[in-house]
């Protein structure tokens, strides 16, 4: 086990797979501009390339390379830049296997950071996860720890489908234990970050850490929250969430996205339909307020969910007992 920052763990996952499989490519803007770039040095410019600022072509090229048998990883930096090429992400990559009647596979990874609420204002701070999660054929990964960042990246590269790999920019320098050697984390398997019997909190990415901080404070009052991190939202481990709700009877969903563009809204719908009998009170969603993320620091903090709002959400969920 090594202590690694999140962003280095992501790179480790890519290295792990590039070493074992010569079909893995890594490319994007502003990387691999010199021979000293660690990926160029290790794998050469056949497999590692810098691109112009051309997201449509970058992702489209990844699709074609994947259909021809390679496994591209596209470095997109920010999830918003995928919006420039949304056709390729939503209406090209996940369609070809299906439309061809299973003749082609499109194994590729779109690596993008998100949620950078560090003064980046309105266009570089979004939490767009839910935009991707409902697209049949597209997998969506949201790691919250360095170990998962490595293991989920490796799994994403081995997966035979297009995968949107969303790493949270606020976690970039967070350190954590990362297993040495080959490390894979399965898709569709939630992790219980903190066990508890009184209330279930579901969160992804950076919000997992805020949920854990809130849970620790609540523990001081004798409230034991169970914090569940789905790790991948497509596929979504709904069974793990339903199991926890069956135990606690209360559900708080934390999401950095605005409510109607959130993953939490989708989980809420599923639990309301499939787990209604377990619920002792209405589901509570703690999401971003319905606004573009503002630049000014206090306003930014006001818009996105924080520890206090999560604690308030838990209290509301527990008060609403029926």
């Amino acid at each position: 086990m090594a202590q690694l920052p999140f962003i280095a763990a992501v790179d480790e996952g890519i290295h792990q797979e590039m070493r074992r499989d010569p079909n893995v490519l890594y490319f994007g803007q502003n990387l691999a501009t010199t021979e000293n770039h660690p990926f160029v040095a290790a794998y050469g410019t056949d497999r590692v390339r810098v691109t112009p600022i051309s997201e449509t072509a970058e992702i489209g090229i990844a699709i074609g390379a994947a259909m021809a048998g390679l496994r591209p990883v596209v470095e997109l930096y920010m999830a918003e830049f995928m919006l420039v090429a949304m056709d390729q992400v939503v209406n090209e990559a996940p369609r070809f296997r299906y439309m061809s009647g299973g003749q082609v596979k499109v194994p590729l990874v779109l690596k993008a950071g998100f949620g950078f609420t560090a003064g980046w204002a309105g266009q570089h701070t979004g939490s767009l996860t839910a935009l991707f999660m409902g697209v049949p054929g597209l997998k969506v990964v949201v790691p919250s720890t360095p170990a998962d960042a490595k293991g989920l990246m490796a799994t994403a590269i081995r997966d035979d489908n297009p995968v949107v790999f969303l790493h949270h920019y606020m976690l970039t320098l967070e350190h954590g234990e990362v297993p040495d050697g080959e490390h894979l984390v399965p898709f569709g398997k939630a992790e219980i970050r903190r066990p508890g019997g009184d209330v279930t909190i579901v969160a992804t990415g950076w919000m997992v850490h805020r949920a854990l901080a809130a849970a620790n404070k609540l523990a001081g009052e004798g409230i034991q929250a169970e914090v569940i991190d789905p790790r991948t939202v497509a596929p979504l481990d709904l069974a793990a969430i339903l199991k926890s709700v069956a135990k606690t009877g209360h559900l708080v969903l934390v999401d950095q996205a605005p409510r109607h563009a959130s993953v939490s809204g989708i989980i809420a719908g599923e639990v309301a339909e499939q787990g209604f009998g377990s619920l002792k009170a209405p589901i509570v969603q703690v999401t971003a307020r319905d606004a573009t993320v503002p630049y000014s620091e206090p306003l930014e903090a006001f818009v996105i969910p924080d520890e206090e709002r999560i604690i308030a959400g838990v209290r509301k969920a527990l008060q609403g007992r029926r």
Binding site: S54, A57, N91, M99
Partner: protein, 342 residues
């Protein structure tokens, strides 16, 4: 660099393939009247572009790949796909090339190198470049054919991809079939080069690659021009933009209508929208099929009787395809949930 001319035998093969594409498209078109309701959605025919399609693929080798658009019936037929499976796909049947999941706009036959077809204008162009990157890495001299229309050259995907393909010297041949219309918009109404009286192949200049315009009604001319582009690509010298000037003899597609309204092919836009019957009639007079037939008969490559025989054979083959496809059952409902993920 000059490309070796096609042998007489190969020229007859070209004509045969042109006939097969024409007869296939005629069969698709006839289905609208003979079997209403069998074809759903939107189909786009390649009649008029046969010389360009076949002339482009004369030097296709195993290991090469081709990608195209929603107007995609011609290429797989030339590459060896079974017209029965193609027609069954267009009819949404279980024996379809893509198990009925793709339909007319998304014919795919990976075994024959026909890798994919995007229904979104221009969106498939980078896919071809990606496949060409794979070919470049594999270093077996394989190339990728990228077919699209003039309309696609106004998409960002076209410009972004040509830039990267040239920069990386990818082994790809960009074949732009310029049929003079973006659906119902004349090229000169939407293209600055066309409006200025320039060929669309000048767009290649911006990306430091050769750009050539060719008469897409002459398969031998297309063979020569695309052949040179192929040699360039196989030699590692990068892509070429070929503007192949064709005239689409049918309307852009069948009428767009909700269920219950019988679908059919309307008159060509030249007449229906612009009232320019002369233009359309001139195009009919220049139809590449009788034109190439004349060329072959004049050169002695083919007798009139043999040419008729080839046409009848192609027509019979496509009649069989229709009969097969009509009898093919619909896929099982559960198959709609297969192939979502690999």
């Amino acid at each position: 660099m000059t490309v070796q001319a096609l042998s007489t035998e190969r020229q007859v093969w070209v004509y045969t393939q042109m006939l097969r594409v024409r007869e296939f498209e005629e069969s698709v078109k006839r289905t609208f009247t003979e079997s209403p309701g069998v074809i759903r959605g939107h189909t786009h025919l390649a009649d008029g572009a046969e010389a360009s399609i076949v002339g482009s693929l004369t030097l296709f080798r195993p290991g090469d790949a081709a990608l195209a658009t929603y107007r995609c019936h011609g290429y797989p037929l030339v590459l060896g796909s079974d017209p029965k499976a193609m027609m069954a796909e267009i009819y949404g049947r279980v024996d379809g090339l893509c198990k009925g999941l793709g339909g007319s706009m998304h014919l795919t036959d990976v075994k024959r190198g026909f890798l994919g077809t995007s229904g979104i204008v221009g969106a498939g162009i980078p896919h071809a470049a990606g496949a060409a990157w794979a070919a470049q890495i594999r270093k077996r001299g394989e190339v990728v054919f990228c077919f699209f229309g003039d309309g696609a050259s106004k998409q960002g995907a076209f410009h972004e991809t040509l830039n990267i393909a040239s920069l990386w010297k990818l082994p790809v041949i960009f074949v732009m079939e310029n049929n003079g219309y973006n659906v119902v918009t004349l090229t000169a109404q939407e293209d600055a080069n066309a409006a200025a009286g320039e060929p669309l192949s000048v767009k290649a200049k911006a990306y430091a690659m050769p750009g050539v315009t060719v008469d897409g009604g002459d398969p031998l001319a297309v063979h020569a021009v695309v052949g040179e582009a192929i040699e360039r690509a196989r030699a590692g010298n990068g892509p070429t933009l070929v503007e192949s000037k064709v005239y689409r003899l049918s309307a852009h597609g069948n009428i767009i209508a909700p269920p219950g309204v019988p679908l059919h092919y309307p008159e060509h836009e030249a007449i229906a929208v612009f009232g320019n019957r002369e233009e359309y009639e001139a195009a009919l007079r220049g139809d590449p099929l009788p034109r190439f037939r004349g060329t072959l008969i004049n050169s002695g490559a083919l007798s009139a009787a043999r040419a008729d025989e080839l046409k009848n054979k192609a027509a019979a083959e496509m009649r069989e395809a229709v009969a097969f496809a009509l009898k093919s059952p619909y896929p099982k409902l559960e198959s709609a949930l297969e192939n979502v993920c690999a």
